[in-house]
Symmetry: C2
Subunit: 477 residues, 2 copies
């Protein structure tokens, strides 16, 4: 029995995520992370082998319904989207019921329905991108198809199918190849697909359909009708903007990083052994928050791609520097890598008490100063305006780095003193560790400090990126 972990990161693209390291004898689990930072456990989708097929199937359906209910409760915006899709499909299916409309498109209303089914995406940007792709590709492929058919008919009835088949082979192969290229893949994948299909449909339909021009006209107009319904419903009926989603994803990622770092440092240096279980679980949620950041790259990329298609909305105008969010996202991930390394090094151990006195204040100070900068940056991103406090916070952070370096120097003297202490002296402070432990702990503390300093360096890069972003956002208005 395998179980997997899913994180849903405020987007329409939920996907299979890094399973947490399964500990010895512990099964993996279905887990959904919701935007509010909480995550819930659903074992229901992953029932063990049920006694019979029918019982098993019912249990699975029941589990799926439970999951769906909780998911719907936590993400009402997605439920609204489903109703929007239903509404758009009812609207487009009027082309079947109303005779003038049906005859107007020559009975080809199915293409309009298909367009709505395929092109209606969760965010406005994605819908616009797909609709533009689809309309343009249909138009271009229709024109090319008519051209190829016209050329083929010049060569007589025998050669016609051969020429058409050859053109289908060449154009389909070429378009399929283009779909592999990253730049085409990122922006025009759907367009290339529709181009291939429409080209084949139009060019070889000429063999069967009397008026190819009218046929193509109907195909293009039904696609145009479908895309218009998608775009209008998407924009004017509870719109979900990819830009907004991206904007809040980046902010929540920054907050998660800050929470994780604070949590990990406090866990290592603090003495909250007597904290109650509920508090511990909440803090564990925070500790692993940085993992969501590690996993958010593909979501960010698609949101950036889509946000660029969106018209001005809310605080964002059409020329908002969306692409800069990619760089910011990459920097946040590199920050998260440091936290991951840090959490690996300090997990399952506690700093010995005698070192804690010396170190904890200064380490906690540095980490909290660094996360204060990050939290200040969240405000900068939110308002897209430079913050007057940020310089102060940066200075505090730098002075904390200096303090930590001084403490390290002091430690390098104190430590060798410590190895000369008698064992019983350790026992008082360090609860009876052998005299190897202080040395390991010192190495750990030095590493912790060093990683914290590296985190500070990465924070500075983030500050720079956020300032650039805020500057560009302001000047683009």
């Amino acid at each position: 029995m395998y179980k997997y972990t899913y994180h849903i990161v405020e987007t329409n693209i939920p996907y299979l995520r890094d399973p947490p390291m399964a500990k010895e004898g512990e099964a993996w689990e279905w887990r959904m992370s919701f935007p509010d930072g909480m995550s819930k456990l659903f074992v229901s989708e992953c029932m063990p082998q049920a006694p019979g097929l029918v019982v098993g199937l019912s249990l699975r359906c029941w589990g799926l319904m439970q999951t769906g209910w909780r998911y719907g409760m936590s993400e009402p915006q997605k439920v609204i989207h489903c109703f929007k899709v239903g509404m758009a499909l009812c609207l487009v299916s009027l082309f079947y019921y109303v005779s003038p409309l049906y005859e107007g498109v020559g009975g080809n209303a199915m293409w309009a329905v298909l367009t709505v089914v395929v092109a209606f995406e969760y965010t406005v940007g994605a819908t616009i991108c797909k609709c533009l792709n689809r309309t343009t590709a249909t138009f271009l492929a229709g024109a090319l198809g008519i051209g190829v058919h016209w050329v083929a008919t010049r060569f007589g009835a025998t050669s016609e199918p051969i020429i058409l088949q050859a053109s289908v082979f060449v154009i389909a192969s070429a378009a399929t190849f283009l779909r592999f290229l990253p730049s085409v893949k990122a922006h025009f994948d759907h367009g290339a697909l529709i181009f291939i299909f429409t080209f084949i449909l139009v060019s070889i339909s000429g063999y069967r359909v009397p008026d190819l021009f009218e046929f193509t006209h109907h195909r293009v107009s039904t696609v145009a009708i479908g895309t218009s319904i998608c775009v209008v419903t998407s924009i004017f009926c509870c719109p979900v903007w990819a830009g907004n989603e991206l904007h809040s994803l980046i902010q929540s990622n920054m907050e998660k990083l800050a929470d994780s770092l604070d949590g990990i440092v406090a866990e290592y240096l603090g003495d909250d052994a007597d904290a109650d279980d509920a508090k511990k679980e909440a803090s564990n949620e925070k500790l692993v928050g940085y993992r969501c950041v590690l996993d958010s790259m593909s979501t960010e990329e698609s949101l950036v791609n889509y946000a660029r298609w969106e018209p001005a909305h809310g605080g964002f105008n059409f020329r908002h520097p969306w692409k800069d969010y990619l760089e910011l996202g990459a920097l946040l991930r590199s920050y998260a890598h440091c936290i991951d390394a840090l959490s690996g090094i300090v997990s399952d151990t506690k700093a010995p008490a005698f070192l804690k006195q010396h170190f904890s204040t200064v380490c906690v100070k540095l980490s909290s100063n660094s996360t204060a900068v990050l939290r200040e940056l969240v405000a900068v991103v939110r308002t897209s305006a430079e913050s007057p406090k940020i310089d102060l916070r940066l200075e505090e952070m730098c002075s904390a780095v200096q303090e930590l370096q001084d403490a390290l120097k002091a430690l390098s003297n104190q430590e060798t003193g410590a190895t000369e202490m008698k064992p019983q002296e350790f026992s008082e402070g360090g609860k009876g560790e052998s005299n190897v432990v202080p040395f390991v702990a010192v190495v750990q503390l030095v590493t912790l400090s060093s990683l914290l300093i590296e985190i500070v360096a990465r924070t500075e890069k983030i500050v720079k990126a956020v300032n650039t972003l805020a500057h560009k956002a302001t000047s683009s208005e």
Copy 2:
């Protein structure tokens, strides 16, 4: 002018990737990483604003063609895939040219064409997955559509459209909602889409089409024809197995990690200042190889999803433990996070010479022992058979850890000795650094050692995961 970085990781899903940190005054670039580990630079796709629209467009097309040519040269398998798609489309378009075939499906040959265009994927697994989804969804939705239409007609001509519209709204909304759920998204996304479309098509076509049963029969059979052509072409004509792709992706990721770690440690501790430029560039390629590993999660997930649909092929049978590759992939990424933190800490600096003498041998030994384990694991993954050498390699690695710890202890004494040395004594060994430098260098070396030890811990987890994988693979045969 923005430029982005793409890594293509031996799959049909090339995607936008983490841009490397752009240094001061350095523009970002289009870069493609090819399976052979080399990456090439393409500035051509990212021309600055050209003087005129036509010139600009031609330059862009030229750039795209150049990119395409190089891409095609480096990935012949993808070119073959394009020809396969062209061939399958020629085959399916025979349904237009051959009259008995055309009449056999009632002029609905377009659905077969559409099926081939949409469902023919790069790997066999993806094609089978999409085809099964499509056929099942079409069949189920067709049956449901006929049922709903039958019920609606019982209520008389006035109520019929209302009941049909209501059913379209409810079923489309529900199916759209299901698509958000991670388990459905991962396996049945395409099926849900096709279900919605076929249901609407069948249920509301009853309003226009005289014989709904025949209409549905044609829809189902054309889809079945299309999927059969896809599956047969995909399997019997130069097949690309998702399982193979995944298998070699994991191996190449392990090799990249080993190369990166060796490279970074050698760069920091070695003295290759006189290496020539070509060698340096090749080594820089290796240094950042671990970034490909950080980015390979979504590729791995989709390959695992697809590999599970594939019949036995090569060394893999149907019950090959594909899901275990996900865990292994996650462990490799956590290894890569450590390398990222390490590279951040040691970049742009060199260990001072007097510390190098003391440390470099033991650090290089540990890192090379750790990468030797990783390289041995590549062989285990490749052959799916436990290696007799692995225990020996593990022992060597553990003894290297012990040596490093001893060296650290020795350093802790020597270091305080060093701070008591006179400045000129430093100058001899450390090329005139101020006496802060040795201290910073010591912290760096301690961090390096600590991260190396953490990497060893993560290597041990990887060993465990690979052994489990090999064991399951052997017992599943």
